[in-house]
Every structure is written in structure tokens, then in C-alpha cells.
Symmetry: C2
Subunit: 553 residues, 2 copies
């Protein structure tokens, strides 16, 4: 083992979410972030995905710590699953720790985990690595970039960030520290690509205040604001503007209530006394005295806003005269759900304000000119775009190459599972580890293996047929007629005589089976399956999953 | 039956696609358009949806004709399915007829159907209705609005349209005819809402020419243009610019080849001799001599572009130096597929030009100022927004109310199945017909009923367990152990001993069953199902579909 640093992304490269990365030197390994993803397999009983951590077992005695940049689900959500496999200390900010604790509590892990709370500019020695926590701005609060000194040089992992000089909560991004690193020399900058396709600067969190003030001054009825529960700056703005316009705020939806509670307890939200009211209190108030701050900006059918729009949420419905503000971006894939919800809100006679019509949302991620500021501050030898689909990573590379003068060979595009080796001079992908995904059913925090999901896809696509054949062990002949049960198979109804024909086919298959086939249950099963499959496909064009059961009597 | 006109949308209201509408007076009924939709149920083996035409059986002797505005799938795609149920004459333009014929041929219907080809300004008497075909501009060619004179007044159905004074192919929208109707008096304008959220005017089809000229002049390697196969104006532009820059064009993808063939045969495309080349010829040419015009702008995995990006399409792969132009909008729901495809194209080292970066696509639908022009030309008593999700219909209403001075009661929002009655004075929804959707598996043009899809969803979500119990008819006791087969169920593997436990539970259920239950197969099945369900749920949290089979021996 030479003196090289290995960077191995477990997720977040070439995809949205599931950010997780291993950094290894000798026999020590740090894990940076442990995020969950939002897979397309939601039609198959899957809620979220996490990296498959299996390849880490090889290094189980080498993992020294998990370091979290911030508390968003795509950086934090896999933490309990990772800790169940590798119980190592966790380093993160106070606010991130607050969210992590509530997550660990749900998994009954709280007592078993060592959580280190760190402050901005804290420097922590973790074995061979020295990690500094650098304050950055983002839509969440208490977020860090990581400055990691290693024996081969310093790497900076930006986490999620934008360059916000006037955040609503806390201090601006700590550019001074980034410049200090730049002066001392940085080997590699691993840098957020989420908004690398967007020209210009990302607006400050404060940029949405004027729109909210206008909306509040115009609204005569109730106001409903839907936002990401984690957008703490945004929540503070809604609280402030509500106070300014003499409205009370009622917080609805589990994750919104949790985040407000954690942020309030840790002192990140400034909530005037008496501003917050319960749902019952809110129901007693007149329409111009109340704001509902709710979950469901993505049209999720079980979240507060959809429920209020489609039927009712705890007795609360969207009504004529309400003003609904969608203070969030549309996460790709949710367009249809959101559009449908908006339709229902319009049907109720309410007014809707979307991001496209007024500036009620700003991104938390660096646009191209934020990337410029970061890259010029850090002046790394290598730029490694992370966090994003390939399209964003490539556009990040293109921008750094065309606008910041970096040479092609100093911009390194990697993929999940790539082993990127850095020796201080060169950055080369030397190996590829196989890293799959594990699916999670969140209702029970259960893992679902990918074989199960594969089976479900097959069932979903064509349905299933079970055929039960009873055979007299002595004569080798059918005892009674075959039973056929079908679910989700098109064209396979009893009234078109199909079932009777299918039974005849199975009976004929048994009658025509060789002695050898009859003597071997697995051969016989396969024989029945193939004959029935052929018949169903010919008759209906369908290819269901066929399960034969042989009963010997 | 009083002298009223009934308008009954069968699809296209509150949804994208599946445009279809019945117009009825006395015992005569016209069907306007017969479109297909693109349902979210694609995970369940469904390709497209069509309106469920069942409620039309009541009027089967009243339907006098089907009138098509244009040949897009969301207006034409359900035609074969509708004609199989009700074989009535079809009226449409020459180009629409060309597309309809190729569709009817696929369904073996061609010889049985009466297709009337009409020209712009043709007026056709269909029983009590007089229908005029009014030329409009759209992304397709040979598109009509319909002016329909009825005994209670005139209605105008816009179909899909935009106000394009400089189309690439054919003549501009026939505003003069719309104004003539306006002068004579129009009872109701049924009007396209697809782009009702978009301010300003929709650009002319010609607007994309400069961007294509730039791209062609910059490109040194091969050029690949992906567009909707039906965007005939766009195809002509690509052909023209290719000619201008001395490149040949190779058309790839089934629907692209079909549309080019039909448009060429009917004289809508002007293709210079020798411009088109076969794939084999294209492969022999040098990179700067060729343009590939391909399907797959939506990232469809089986279409030409995705195949070229991810593996190869008939030996053709995207390569370094290629310029790929996505000359289409992103249809909501396709974001992830498209983004993934773009990633693969970048990985291949090609350059990509998307709609967001250069003007390589314009919409075919009326923006707000087009809606203004149409509405002010026609000056209807009632405006009825059609074609679009509720969000678009409501924004259409809002625009007409706030910017065109229409009173609330003269803008009528309807839903699929609503019976809108017009008597010349009032427009009132008097009834609601139940109109569902029928799902189609396009591979075999087969209908899939919604019960089958419901079963597939259930299977997809939790998997399925089959339990086979053999019972001695005389003793009422188990004969051998129960058989259990599971597919797609999480946590149900044989190695955790689950299966043995489940067998014991089923055996205990049989042993504990009352004489009455044992005597009645359906009672016994239900008993076994409930006991096993309870056990599986308790053990694993899963709720699979359980199918019990009882074999008596």
C-alpha cells in the first residue's frame, strides 16, 4: 500500500440524493455524509434508497468516524442504517445533531451512538486526518464545508452551499477561511454541482422577503405557506412577516413541526411569544389573523397541503378566499403530483402563488458565479464535481474549464464506486467498486433487497398465475382438475372460457409428460410452467409470472 | 327532450392528453377528436390510456360522425378503439387522414372505415350540424379549428392552435374566418388551455431557424437532431438547414420515418432530391456531411437517441465531437429519463444543445396573447377552457376574466363527464356521466381493464403469497404439509425459518377450523387467508396479496 489517498463515492454522483463518500488513507477511513435517495421504484413499495454499504465490511476495522456536512435527508437520511452496521463516532454541527438525534431515536439507536457537536472553525484530529468545519450558507442552517488535511495534501469537500452574504439566520459563508486554504494550497476541491447549469449568482435567502410582504399585504383571507420543512431561513421569514402583518402562525405536518421544534429548542429560530397557535386556536381565529405553515410543497398525497386541498386535514380545508404560497422548487419527478394538487386548490376557489409567478423561493445551491467565487478562493489543483446528475457534473466541468481556465486534466469526473487515487501530484481512477442501492420501506424502516423489487416489477408488469396440480403418486395421473388462480393478468377472465382451456392444456401437459419428468418435481413444475406460459401468451399476448405447485397424493 | 345542445367531454379536461368530446342535439351526436393519454400507470404494463367509451353505447344509433381537428396522438390515438365500437364516418384533413390510415392499417380496420378528407373552409352538413373546417397553425400541419353551427347557436372548437403568421409549411392561421364568425355571433368558444399560463405570444415556427443555422455553422462533427416526429415544420427546417450547410439527412426511428414518409407523400414536406440517405450511406460519409434526424427527445429508452447514447442503435453510437440538439420540450413526467439520457450523451463526449440554452424549440400552443387574439376575433358569449390540467384551465379563466373583461358567469369550467347544456341563453352543467379510462397495452393493441391494473398495483406494492392446503375429504384433516410460494415479499426468505413457521400457522388454522368452515371451501379459504395474513404482517410488517388454494383428496 503506497502513500495515496483514496476517495470513493458511495452515492450522489450521477444521481440526485444519496450523498456519501469514503476517504481512505492507509488503514484509516472517514465517511463523509450518509444520505438517502428518492428512487423511481416508488411504485414497488419502496420509499427511499440508501447506498449499499456492503463493500465497507472489508474496511470495518478501519472506519474511524462519520462526518456530516449538514442535516438534509440526502446527506443524513442513511445515518441510522450505516450506524447499525458500523457504530463509529459522528461529527456534525449542533443543528445537524438535533435532526440526527430525532432520527436515531426513531430507530432506537440514540443511547448507543457517540455524537460530537462541533462549531464553525473547530479543527478535529481524527487519526491521520485533520478536519476543519467551515461555515457555509445553504437553505438549512448550521451547514459546513469540510477542510481535510491528509498526508498527501488538503482536500475541501463543499457539502451543499451557496455564497450568501446576507442569510436570514446566522453569519455569512466564511470565505476568509476558504481563502486561507487557497493560500496554503489545496490539492482537490470536491464541489457541489446541483446548480452548475444555472448562470449568475444564487440569490440570498433574504431575496424572497419582498414577495412575502406583498402577498401578506394583499391577502384578505387565510394564508397557507407550503415549504420544505428543512428550509429554516424560509420558516423564519414566514414567522417574521406574519408578525409584521399581525397574523398568528399554525405549523402543520409532522416534519414541519419537528423541524420547528428542533430549530426553536437549539435557538436557530427566533419565535416571538404568542405567535404560534395550535390548530384548534387557529380554527377559532378570523381568516385575516392566521397563516398556516405546512408540509406538502411537492404534492405528496399524505402531506398536509394535499390533504387540505383534496379532502381535509384534521378538519381543515382549502376554501375560497385562501391564498396558497408554494415556497419551494419542484423536485424533478414530482411535476404531475404538484400540478394535480394545484388543480384541486384552484377548484376550491383559492388563489395560488407559485415560484414561477413571484420570487417566493430561492435555491440553496451554488450557481455558476458562486462556483466561480468558491473555486477562485480555494484555488485547488484538482476540481472534482460532486452532488448531481451527470448532466450537472459535466456542465460544472465545462464551466470550470471554459470560464475559470482549468485544464482538462485538472478536472476529474468520477462515478459512484470509482476509487480516485491522489498522491499529491496526480488524480487517477484506479479501481471501481461495486456499490448498489438498498431500498427502504420507511413504514417499518425495513430494507428491501433488490431481488424482491425485481420480482415486484415483474408482477406489476404482467400479473401472476398460480397453477396447482394434484397427482396420484402411484399412477402418475392427475387427481381432479388443475386449479388456476390469476391476479393482474389481462384477458384472463373466467367468462371467456379461458380458464377451462388453460386447465385442459395443463392436464394434457401432465398426461404427455415422460416418466422421468413425472418422477422429478422440479422437472414437472418447469414442464407445466412452460406449457401454460406458451398457451397464455398465444391466447392473450400476456406473459404473467407463473408459479406451478405440485401436490402428490 | 328540450331544444338544448349538450357538450360532454370524454377526456382532455383536467388532464394532459386524451382529448375527446361529444356534442349532442336531439338524437344526433358528433364526436370531436379521439385522443389517447399517457397515464402514470406505466409501471403496471400500461402504455397509453383512452377514454372509456361505454357511456356512448346508450347513443350508439345517434352518433353520426367523428370529426378530427388534427393528427396528434392526443387527438387521434384512440380512433381505432372508438371505431371498433362505433363504425361511423370520419372527417379530417388530408394529412390527418394520412396518419389515421396508417393507424387503422395497424389495427386491420382500413377497409372498413369511411374517411372524408376535407379542405380548409370546407363546410359539411352532418345531420343537424353544419361543420366548417378553419385553418389554424400548430406544430403539426393541416390542423383545424371547427366552426359548428347548431340549432341553438354556433360553437367554435379551437383544437390545438397558436397564432402563427409565418409558419414554415402552409398558410397562416385563418383569422379572417374567425372574425367572420365573431361578426355573425358565436355562442361558445371551446378553447385550448395548454399554454394559458404563459404570458405573451408563442413564437412562430420560424423562430428556431437562426439557432439551427448557428449550430450547423459551428458543428465540426456529426449533428443529431431529436424532435417530435409529428413536428413537421421542425423537420422541414432541419432539412432546409442541412441542405444549406451541405449535409445529408438520415432519418431514424420508426415514428420519424413514418411521419416523414406520410408528409412527403402528401406533399407537406419539400425534400430536395438526394438529401435523404440511408443509414448505410450515412455511415460511409464523413462527420461533417451528415445530420441524423431521430426520435427519442423524451429519453424513451427504446427510441433511437437513447439507444445511440447508452449502447448503440443499429451500429450507431454517439461519439466525441457529435453535436446533439434536443429540439423539443420536456413533457412533464419525463424529466428523469431525459436527464439520464443527457448524462450518457455527455459521457460519450458529445456536445448537447437543449431548449434552455438556445431557441431550438417553440411551442405549438396558444400563449396568453394568442388566446387574446382568438377570443377577441370570435367574441363568444361563453368561453369554455378545454385541453389542459385544471391549473391551466383556471389560469385560462383568470386571464379571460382579468384581461379580456369577461364576466365570471360567461366563463364555464367543466370536467370530464360533465353534461354542459346550452340553450342559446344559458350554459349550465346539468348532469355528470361516469367516464373512466381504459388502459392499453400497445404491444398487442389490447385493452387492460382497470381492475387488472388495480390488482397489479397491489402485487407491485407488497408482492404475493400462494398457500396450497391439501385436505383429506373424509377426515377433514391436512394431508401433507401446506405449500407456500412467495414472490416479491420482503423478509420472507426460507433461511430465516419464516416459511416453516408460516406452514405451522396454516396447519394450526386448519386443525382449529370448525366443522362448518371445513365443509365450505370459500369459508376455509378466507380462514386460512386471514390467519396467514395476520402472521406475515406481525412477523415482517408486509401485507402481500394472499391466494389460498384448497385441494380436497
Amino acid at each position: 500500500m503506497a502513500s495515496v489517498l483514496e476517495i470513493i463515492p458511495l452515492g450522489g454522483i450521477g444521481e440526485f440524493g444519496m450523498n456519501c463518500m469514503a476517504v481512505r488513507y492507509g488503514d484509516e477511513m472517514l465517511i463523509l455524509d450518509a444520505g438517502m435517495g428518492f428512487p423511481e421504484e416508488s411504485a414497488y413499495g419502496v420509499d427511499v434508497s440508501i447506498p449499499n454499504f456492503n463493500f465497507l465490511y472489508e474496511y470495518r476495522d478501519h472506519i474511524t468516524a462519520i462526518v456530516l456536512t449538514h442535516g438534509h435527508e440526502d446527506h443524513l437520511g442513511a445515518l441510522p442504517y450505516l450506524l447499525k452496521k458500523f457504530n463509529v463516532p459522528v461529527y456534525c454541527s449542533h443543528f445537524t445533531a438535533g435532526l440526527a438525534e430525532s432520527k436515531l431515536e426513531e430507530h432506537d439507536l440514540l443511547g448507543d451512538i457517540l455524537l460530537h457537536r462541533v462549531e464553525p472553525r473547530d479543527v478535529v484530529d481524527i487519526g491521520v486526518f485533520q478536519v476543519e468545519f467551515i461555515r457555509v450558507s445553504h437553505s438549512l442552517v448550521d451547514c459546513f464545508s469540510l477542510g481535510i488535511k491528509t498526508p498527501v495534501g488538503t482536500i475541501i469537500h463543499t457539502g451543499d452551499y451557496k455564497v450568501d452574504e446576507t442569510p436570514v439566520i446566522g453569519e455569512p459563508i466564511d470565505l476568509r477561511s476558504f481563502r486561507r486554504y487557497g493560500q496554503d494550497g489545496v490539492l482537490a476541491l470536491l464541489s457541489d454541482s446541483t446548480n452548475a447549469t444555472v448562470p449568475g449568482r444564487t440569490p440570498s435567502e433574504r431575496a424572497v422577503i419582498p414577495a412575502f410582504e406583498e402577498i401578506f399585504s394583499e391577502a384578505k383571507g387565510r394564508i397557507v405557506v407550503a415549504a420544505f420543512a428543512s428550509s429554516i431561513h424560509r420558516l423564519q421569514i414566514v414567522l417574521d412577516v406574519a408578525q409584521q402583518f399581525d397574523r398568528h402562525v399554525c405549523v402543520l405536518g409532522r416534519s414541519m413541526q419537528k423541524n420547528v421544534e428542533v430549530a426553536d429548542r437549539l435557538g436557530y429560530l427566533d419565535i416571538p411569544d404568542g405567535l404560534l397557535v395550535s390548530l384548534n386556536e387557529a380554527k377559532m381565529m378570523s381568516d385575516d389573523e392566521i397563516v398556516f405553515l405546512v408540509t406538502g410543497s411537492q404534492g405528496e398525497s399524505r402531506a398536509a397541503l394535499s390533504q387540505m386541498a383534496m379532502q381535509s386535514y384534521k378538519g381543515l380545508m382549502i376554501e375560497e378566499g385562501d391564498t396558497v404560497v408554494l415556497s419551494a422548487r419542484i423536485i424533478p419527478g414530482n411535476e404531475r403530483l404538484i400540478s394535480r394538487m394545484i388543480g384541486y386548490i384552484y377548484k376550491r376557489g383559492a388563489n395560488i402563488i407559485e415560484e414561477k409567478r413571484r420570487l417566493v423561493h430561492v435555491s440553496g445551491h451554488a450557481s455558476q458565479d458562486d462556483i466561480r467565487i468558491m473555486t477562485e478562493a480555494v484555488r485547488p489543483k484538482f476540481v472534482v464535481p460532486i452532488h448531481g446528475e451527470y448532466r450537472m457534473l459535466f456542465r460544472h466541468k465545462e464551466f470550470v474549464k471554459n470560464h475559470l481556465g482549468y485544464a482538462e486534466e485538472n478536472i476529474v469526473l468520477i462515478e459512484n464506486g470509482d476509487v480516485l487515487e491522489l498522491d499529491g501530484e496526480r488524480a487517477v481512477v484506479t479501481d471501481k467498486r461495486e456499490i448498489g442501492r438498498t431500498f427502504i420501506d420507511e413504514s417499518g424502516f425495513q430494507e428491501i433487497d433488490s431481488e424482491t423489487v425485481r420480482e415486484r416489477k415483474q408482477l406489476a408488469y404482467e400479473g401472476t398465475v398460480t397453477v396447482v396440480v394434484t397427482i396420484d403418486e402411484e399412477t402418475g395421473e392427475l387427481d381432479g382438475e388443475p386449479r388456476i388462480a390469476a391476479r393482474g393478468v389481462r384477458g384472463l377472465s373466467s367468462d371467456n372460457g379461458f380458464r377451462d382451456d388453460a386447465k385442459r392444456i395443463v392436464a394434457a401437459a401432465i398426461a404427455g409428460a415422460s416418466r422421468q419428468t413425472l418422477a422429478d418435481e422440479s422437472l414437472l413444475k418447469e414442464h407445466v410452467r412452460v406449457e401454460l406460459k406458451r398457451f397464455i401468451q398465444k391466447q392473450t399476448g400476456a406473459r404473467p409470472v407463473i408459479t406451478p405447485v405440485i401436490v402428490l397424493v
